[in-house]
């Protein structure tokens, strides 16, 4: 069977990139995931735009499978766990609580993102520890976005640690004839790396990596290293 994951090593730590768009950190038995945007469908529905709620169930099922497969004990959410705090967009909450009940012993940490305001009570009900700035766990420093990365960290902190963030929803645009094939990706630069957005209904932004960056695209259930020469037209 083809191995659908990619193993990489950053500052000596082994990480596994999963096709479900998460990072497994075996040494800490942790999973990192970014930009789940739960409740985005509900927000749209609140505005009168029909987006099926089934997206939420599918996303949670996938998470459960990964947790079970990797026997993770901790889930680190790199921000934008929820999409908005609008009143009347709570139809996704029961699904989340039900899911939480299935993983009662899982430690969940949320690095707060710009979309995560106003849901404190939900986080409490879910037993999620919310971190407002960044979280340092050598050799990494984790946050929602790069601005938050440097807050709450020693000025020289970034030289010692490697940053891991979300927020950008990165995708790569590969030329395919006259069009471009767009794929979500893991994007690792020299100082920090960006995770792809986990959410089903989240849009992505095309990024242009440096030649020295390491990019891994997610395509049809497999994580592949991108040979940057493929980007040339």
């Amino acid at each position: 069977m083809v191995d659908q994951t990619q193993e990489i090593s950053i500052r000596g730590e082994k990480l596994r990139l999963l096709p479900e768009k998460l990072i497994e950190w075996p040494a800490r038995r942790s999973l990192l995931v970014a930009d789940t945007h739960f409740g985005k469908a509900a927000t749209f529905r609140n505005f009168g735009i029909p987006v099926p709620e089934e997206t939420t169930h599918a996303m949670l099922d996938r998470l459960s499978h990964v947790i079970e497969r990797t026997s993770a004990v901790r889930l680190i959410l790199l921000g934008d766990f929820v999409h908005s705090s609008l009143k009347g967009t709570t139809s996704f909450e029961p699904s989340l609580l039900e899911w939480r009940a299935k993983h009662r012993d899982l430690e969940i940490v949320l690095l707060r993102g710009n979309h995560d305001r106003g849901r404190a009570d939900l986080f409490e009900k879910l037993g999620i520890r919310v971190v407002a700035d960044s979280l340092t766990e050598a050799p990494f420093v984790l946050a929602h976005d790069t601005a938050t990365l440097t807050r709450g960290v020693q000025p020289l902190g970034l030289e010692l640690h490697y940053g891991l963030v979300g927020h950008i929803h990165p995708q790569i645009a590969l030329p395919e004839g006259k069009k471009k094939l767009k794929l979500p990706c893991f994007w690792f630069g020299s100082d920090y790396g960006v995770l792809p957005a986990y959410g089903d209904f989240t849009g992505c932004a095309t990024v242009k990596p440096e030649e020295t960056d390491n990019v891994f695209v997610v395509a049809e259930g497999v994580v592949l290293k991108l040979d940057q020469r493929m980007l040339a037209t």
């Binding site: 529905r45 505005f47 009168g48 735009i49 029909p50 987006v51 709620e53 095309t206």
Partner: protein
Amino acid sequence: MGDSYAPATRYLASWFRQLGRKPFPFQKETWATYLRGESGLVHSPTGTGKTLAVFLGAVVEWLAEHPEWLKTAKPQAELPAIEKFKRGKQRESRLRVLWITPLRALATDTEVNLNAALRQLQIPWLVEKRTGDTSSSIRQKQRARYPEVLITTPESLSLMLCNEDLPEKISDLRCVVVDEWHELLGNKRGVQTELGLARLHTLRPELRVWGLSATLGNLEEALSTLLGSDSDHPGSLIASDLKKKYVIESLIPAEIERFPWAGHLGTRLAPEVAEIVSAARSTLVFTNTRSQCEIWYQALLKVMPELSGRMAVHHGSLDIELRRWVENELREGRMKCCVCTSSLDLGVDFSEVDSVVQIGSPKGNARLLQRAGRSGHQPRVPSRITFVPTNALELMELAAVRDALLAHKIESRRPLRKPLDVLAQHVVTVALGGGFRPRELFDEVRTTAAYRDLSELEWQWVLDFARQGGSSLKAYPDFHRIEFVEGVYRVTNERIGRFHRLSIGTIVSDVAVQVKYLKGPKLGTVEESFISKVQPGENFMLGGKLLELVRIHDNTAWVRRAKGVSKAIPRWLGGRIPLSGELSQAMREKLAEAGAGKFASPEMRSLEPLLELQQSWSALPNTNQVLVERFKNRDGHHLFLYPFAGRLAHEGLASLLALRMSRLAPITFSMAMNDYGLVLVSREPAPFDEALTHDLWNTERVADDVLASLNATELCKRQFREIARVAGLIFQGYPGVRKTGRQVQASSNLFYDVFTEYDPQNMLLRQARREVLEQQLEYTRLVEALKRIAKCELLIRQLAKPSPLSFPLLVDGMRDRLTSEKLWERVKKMQEQLEKAAGNDRGLEPTASKKLELNKH
């Protein structure tokens, strides 16, 4: 006309006399029909007289109802009387005529024209516009006191239907005029109009509806689509009796290449066109694409630099302000020449324009007629159009156009059949505007031509979509646009009502998009319909500058200066309009005539060497034959087929044939196509003979096969973009509402993926597939072509060298692989070799290198 109208008609006649004119018979017929309370469609190739034909009927009606005004009125009388009358009657004013027009620019022109007539007749009517441009303060005033004539767009009509007090405001509405109905007929805005008219009919059963249209092949259908099936009278078709003489001629280049390819002639004929421009008072030069427009403008300016300042460009990607300025200059007769695209197809007649040039094939007779009609508005002056071919074979197209016109074969515009996205939007509109009972609205909607065949199942789906997101009750929790309250569907959520109103306004095709440098100033505004087709990373021209589109966001197109020279080959391929069915048929007949030795027109005579060569190296099919050519060169085995079904149908056909042949042998094809035929290229010879015995032309399962062979998902997603917007899935983002708008921004691709995955029964997906077949692939024509080929005799020729007909396809097949310089070199070489073989040791003209310069841009 009845006696009661006699005094009013006499007044009208005296006005005409004062102007030194007489009303045309068709105008009198229209007023008479109108005053009998009937509806109809007035059609003519040009604009002359249609507006007044309908408008004055309504004026006579008002005059007959206000005898006291008629007693004191005098045409061209002084102003104070009218103001006094207006002020006195202020509170009683009611909307009498609703004038629907497809473009906001046209609304302004119409307003000017109607006001001019009213002023001269001294009728105290107020004429106003209500379009996306209308400011909210004017809209407020309009809602307090409606003008007698309101000029509006189909979108704004929908917006009007959102108001609960509409029935009161239209309590005296006598007539709806739909201007340029042929423009609305074949698309969703036409359907939107049909639904709006059905609504107005329900509220005002005696309402008359009058359409103004250009000449169409299906006028009866155009009339019945406009009127729906609810009215008592079938409606009258009234033809303008203005005898229009048309002079259609072509510029025939001195040297006709026998191996033509798309765009080959380039701007070689610019000096000849310049002569035409110099000799005329004012000329419109129509091109088929924006890039051709810019290229020809530069070319003509080079030949006639003295015209700088009196020559302009006009197309959809120019700043709107600039376009208005050009239109004004044309109107005032100060513009000697304007190079334009279909951007000037519609609109008020420019009376000073006396000559029209068409660069490249018009692809349809109706279009040629309409453009020719943009000239020659002085009495007894013919409409003149000069055709400039961009490759030799286009001359044959023009000969075909003449034949088709003589035989009165004008293209039809087929109305759309039940697009559910438009209905989904309409249902919310009516729910907002007072609410509806489902059974009643179902019956009303079914009186329109578009939804005549709407099934209960489809109707239920649309209601479910609006009420709960889809058929499944649980799939979309907390969603509802409309709610069912005591037997009536209403919109109860204020925010949803507001958003619905905002989103209707953004369906308009000429919404302005600002173009701004990423780090710099605003460059101007372009039409959304243009910029939405440009991909990020692609280049386009705006006002002479080559720009690269970075992204479109929040109704702004962010650009940067494009680096270096655009590598794109100028698109001479005629844009996306395929050759019409009528013209294709005429082309086949022309080929057959040539095969029988008959060359009747100057165009055909100029093509005699080319066609004779085609005959001797290959064949000239008659109308019961279809030509197939096989040819091998270093690029592989070529299979050419010439169905003459138009480029879009050939795209599907090529893929279909490739798929069916690949089922017999493991073989891959690359393909190219144009309006005449297609070519399949493969490393091994295609199993064509074998495929023929395996029912290659069978028409069952064509839809599935074609979609399977093309990138159906990509095509469906592209089609889904429009559907998503019409059905209200895409929130466009408005200044002021931007903050909340951000949270509901999503691309139509996301919706497509999510529906496909989680709601595959969603009828909007089905609509996308259907529209791909019907619009992007011209499915009906494809099937017709297959049926016809099956009945014809196949002429199969093995070629030693490529024939003249095959040459353009051969070249098109190479475009993707070669840069424009390499392509040009290779083609030149091929032409030289072929010309030698054909027995004219002629080699190419020394102007070849100059052509290279012009083609690069």
